[in-house]
Amino acid sequence: MLEIKPIINTLMRSKAGALLLILQIAITLAIVSNALSIVSNRLDKLTEDTGYDEQGIIAFTVLTYNRNIDRAKQFKEDMLKLKEIDGVIEAMTVSSIPLSSSGGSWTISNHPDELQGKRADSGYIQANHRMVSAFGLTVSEGRDFEAQDETDGSDGQFPSVAIVSRAVANKLFGEGKGLNEFVYSGDNMMKIVGIVETMKSQWPDSKMGDNVVLIPIERSSMYQRVIVKTQPSKRAQIIKMIEPTLLENERQRVIIGVKGLDTAKQQTYQRDTLMIRMLVALIVFLAIITALGIFGLTHFNISKRTKQIGTRRALGARKSAIFRYFLVENTVVTLFGVAVGSVAAMFMGGQLMALYSIPALDGSIVLYTALVIVVMSLLSVYQPAKRAANISPSIATRSI
């Protein structure tokens, strides 16, 4: 019924066209499925929940270059002034800005001698005791910081409590444990009073991406990071007011990089955004080129066989039989291409994983891409096949 045998025979007699199609479909499948896999991985990374109120927070840096200024006092005044702005909920100095790929990190351990215990490399953020709500985080286990937890670091005082991300607690004390345990770093000992389920570090894309330790200590430095939590609807307005407001207070300093936390995050992920855009462009172009190629080759195959088609029609074949013939022929070739392509795609995925530590290619992506390619090739063969079916039988009798 489907005339597979004669179709294969015909294909074997003029291999060039079919081989070209198979090659094209196979490479397309290999490229597109791997590119899609990379794109979806990067998108997951970009859209992953960081725990912070990205839309509401403004982050920036103040460089106080005049060393005679009493910075601690100055920043207290600044924060009060900022909080007077309509729409500002909280403003505070912090030791580093999350998601910004810059800041401090350390190794903490569940044992006073870190070489004997478990260790976790983590980013740390130091700020006053209201930082959890200022960041828009929620403590999922234990309690938030209280005023008496906080120190200002004078006389070498270091806080005796900390709030950690779930990942840190899990790493040091085991799945679901860690609350009220003690952690150590150098000579400092801190009790974990609270755990935040989701909280990304300053380097969300690194091995310590989920490892964060919050410490209630408020210090001021020459190069001081500041966050301002706002009502998201008023944030754009407030961003413009930060620099003038602060410089009005004290001129001998520079306000650097006032931006939303979401923008800071975007900049951290710039490389991934670039990769996504490049790959999407590649996929789109490839789809166009391959569709054109299938269309063109089918056209060519048909125009070469005009006389044969006329002959078949003259011998009694129906239009639908001719139409079906080309559809089936194309499907056979496409399936060949898809089969070769799937193997190539998986092989390529393996190579990418081995050479560039790209996450493994998921077989289902190959399957879906293959399906789309089959549908696409059926669509592009439709018109040429229709045209073939309409070839008049008289063609056959004319010039032979």
Partner: protein, 437 residues
Amino acid sequence: MLIHYLDLAWRNIKLTPLISCLMVIAIGIGIGVTMTSLSVYHMMSADPIPQKSAQLHAVQLQTMDDGQTWNTPDDIPSQLTYQDAKYLMENSPQTQSVAMMKSGAAVHLDNPESIPFIQDVRITGRAFFNMFGLSFLHGEAWSETQSEQAAPVVVIGEALAQRLFQRTDVLGESIYLDERQYEVIGVTKAWQPAIKFYDVNNGPFQRAEQVFIPFSHIEAYELHSWGNTNSWKNEDISGYAQFLHSEMVWLQFWTQINSENELKNYQQFLMDYMIQQQKLGRFNRKQLAYNVKPVNDWLKYNQVIDPDNKILVGLSFMFLAVCLANILGMLLAKFLKRAPDAGVRRALGASKRQIFFQHLVEVALLGLLGSVVGILLAQIGLIGIRETMSIYVGIAKMDWTMLLLSPVIAILACLLAGLFPAWVVCKTSPATHLKVQ
């Protein structure tokens, strides 16, 4: 003959405008995509300082105790401690050696209208300018004496001079770095290596600094690095003096080595220094280790080329292959349709060889046209890259090599695709075609 073939090719292209256009577009897209990623790769992997890359060497010392690890392939820290950097700079057997680091400052003039702005500052030795090929527009580097006395002198780039004073001849003017007053003693010509090879700490594609001050200022003004400061040891550090004598690593070190002999001397010098330090309780390890790497090895060691870019280059060449398969199909169709012409030419005495070459010339012409489209597309792609990733400004561009390589790749690719169709056409016997006509 070639001219005649070109003429024929052009006529043929005009005869079949639609399919020729499609082919040119297919090659164009293929070349456009390929050249976009290849240009970035080319700039990333290019030698940033070809005239000196073999002489300039980055120096690393294995300061860590046994068992400690680092994020480099051989676990040797990529930067030096202050005490080591200072010693090496002052005692290196070569005259041309510099320790350096990136810092930053609020730059302003001492008047109320001048709004301070942030600039990166390179703190380094006076040999820096000569070693790394900076040339002076006005003035010169600080002297040995000025360096020893930590004199408040600064060398700035011409663009910064323009920004501050609206002219470049600004010797003797004073500028402020933070609250410190400096006298401008030199203005350098614009200097921007494509890769910031001399300090890859905060990414290899950062812009070069435009403010240079003597190394002695670190100690004199208690300056901190704006690059990375890393430690591997729990040390009790209070105060700047202790920080300077700590095992923290935060300085880069470069030396110029001109011969095999000098290299041996230098290696011996490093070993001697480490053995001497071992007696003082440092370099607490069985096997002393160091690296002295020339520029290009240093860049490989630091894996400057983004793996994403390598993937894109691979994918775009595969993409080009798809475009070729496409063109091959179209060429087959086009040439076979015109096979009767070839039949007539054969009957009139043209050899198979001549027919073959005539068709290849036509294919090459298509490739050339395609490369024009491709170069235009690649420019659009590169603009897109620069827009997405601001720090790629210096490397997302097409230099002359890539511009000339585009038509070469396009034509070679098309010839490859054209071989089979041209062969099919030239082997058809003239008789069959003549009969039909």
